[in-house]
Symmetry: C2
Subunit: 319 residues, 2 copies
């Protein structure tokens, strides 16, 4: 099979690889995969990953120890735990200290003809969700995690920093949850996509002029080391910042601001797929507008370049 | 009167100043004041304050619009609000955007013969608390704020980074609240003081060898920009870091760790004096050992130098 791999500091489309068959795991034929900012950050050096990239996918189970899974169209939780630690025993492999993570930590990913995951990680995709929407399950689960971790709920005002893929998805999730959302960004095309989905947008320069601002909740999804500092300017004393961005660089941060204003900064990563699939089934998120391009996996390197463009949103790969 | 002032980038003991009489406020004759790390940070440039330093004090009211306060021995909340904003109306001037703060923001402080505060800021000191203990009310209130803001309570394990004044007080407060406390530090003398108060101590180098650690709660009170990074190493996934240190420098921070491990970082500053006075009345905190030296205000500059020594804990000033 072929796969888009990051090895020895460079991207390469590698052919003639064996299928990633793992004892006790399911083998999934990937039908569509999505490029995430984490993939782009890995190519810039984040996390020190070597192997096949990609963790957003939809596919069909070809082999599985669970016979009922064979032939089923699935998405999959990307964290595979040890099964023995306290986290795993509590049913949450997301924080298992020995976890592997699809295409991110010690496990080949989804930019390939096939991938392998434990059967327990897989969820059947309802028929009403087409592949190009089901592929959003993983980032949408991550976006939904914001609701699970914080007191954010219906009627609350939330500022979201970043008009990229994650910011756009978080805005859609919070809007669907009944929040008053304002998305702060600087890319005209991306802002238009958000507006088309009914999201109120605010140009970054306008938001900078609000200072001092007093938002109850600010979600930092700009993907930039300077985003947290801006979030600190926008949040009210004793307010909450949800931190979503991961990147290769360290951030320069005036942590005294966190202390003096008694801010809560809450890190947020992967979420529950069940919530995401429920949201996708409802069909209310206007995700089509977020698809910037679709490439065959053969042109995967080009697709990564496309996804790195400032105005790009979701770029999909088809093996 | 005389006062220890920070003006034009330098410390000076200034004599012949008028008493700080303010319309509608009480005039307090300071009988004892304490030097805090914030005072030392201001001298290093933190916060851009100009004026009389000092915010930890005990004194006697000489004049007040509240006649019943005259002659009463008091401590005082250091934040003076506008009285009109939402924070002030909710009874909490600590986050009033227009607040002045005794010896920290736009208000002359306690390293002087006299200071001025609104009558509502003053609390009578119970007779059983002597001056050299009552002067701990402000930092002890700040230490108690950790309990008010977090889920930390009886039976919980807490690591505290920093064997300085604030770390020592937080350890005492949490120990009194029934927590299992371990204080991580690097100064032999200070660690001994903590041990004498019944606090379990761990040398910094030992704690570094714990990595990866998995503490539920880590309180960062090291006063160092590197403290938060160590706290991130010590806390478990989905654990809580309480951030107490304020300093002049920015911190270099791997914020992706906060995201990946879904850490909550909670800034914590000033607390309620009532709680602190109640604790002081109980007389269980072993504070005497924390007093490193006592100086007349005339030797205030020398006292600041003494308080800056690595092994110094609380240095008191007597006007």
């Amino acid at each position: 099979m072929k796969a888009l791999r990051f090895e020895q500091g460079r991207l390469a489309l590698v052919r003639g690889l064996p299928r990633p068959v793992q004892q006790g795991e399911a083998l999934i034929r990937v039908t569509m995969a999505g490029i995430c900012n984490t993939d782009l950050e890995i190519v810039r050096g984040y996390g020190g990953f070597t192997g096949t990239l990609g963790h957003e996918f939809v596919g069909v189970v070809e082999e599985s120890p669970e016979a009922s899974q064979v032939g089923v169209r699935v998405v999959g939780e990307i964290n595979a735990g040890c099964g023995r630690c306290a986290c795993c025993k509590a049913g949450d492999a997301r924080h298992c200290p020995e976890r592997t993570v699809l295409g991110i930590v010690s496990r080949d990913g989804a930019f390939a003809d096939y991938l392998s995951l434990p059967p327990a990680n897989l969820l059947a995709v309802p028929d009403e969700i087409p592949d190009h929407i089901a592929v959003f399950a993983e980032p949408l689960a991550a976006a939904s995690e914001v609701l699970e971790q914080t007191g954010i709920g219906s009627g609350q005002e939330v500022l979201i920093l970043g008009d990229g893929k994650l910011g756009q998805l978080i805005a859609r999730v919070l809007l669907a949850a009944g929040c008053r959302v304002r998305l702060i960004g600087k890319h005209a095309g991306k802002m238009k996509v958000a507006e088309d989905a009914g999201i109120e947008t605010v140009p970054l320069e306008t938001a900078r002029n609000w200072l001092p601002c007093a938002a109850d909740f600010v979600v930092e999804a700009s993907g930039s080391p300077s985003g947290l500092q801006l979030a600190l300017d926008l949040v009210r004393p004793r307010g909450t910042i949800v931190l979503k961005s991961t990147f290769h660089d360290k951030a320069q941060l005036d942590t005294s601001r966190i202390v003096v204003n008694e801010i809560s900064v809450i890190g947020s990563r992967c979420g529950r797929f069940r919530n995401a699939l429920d949201l996708l089934s409802r069909g209310v998120l206007n995700l089509e507008g977020m698809i910037s391009a679709q490439y065959p996996l053969d042109r995967g390197i080009e697709a990564i370049e496309c996804a790195s463009e400032p105005e790009a949103l979701k770029v999909l790969l088809i093996p």
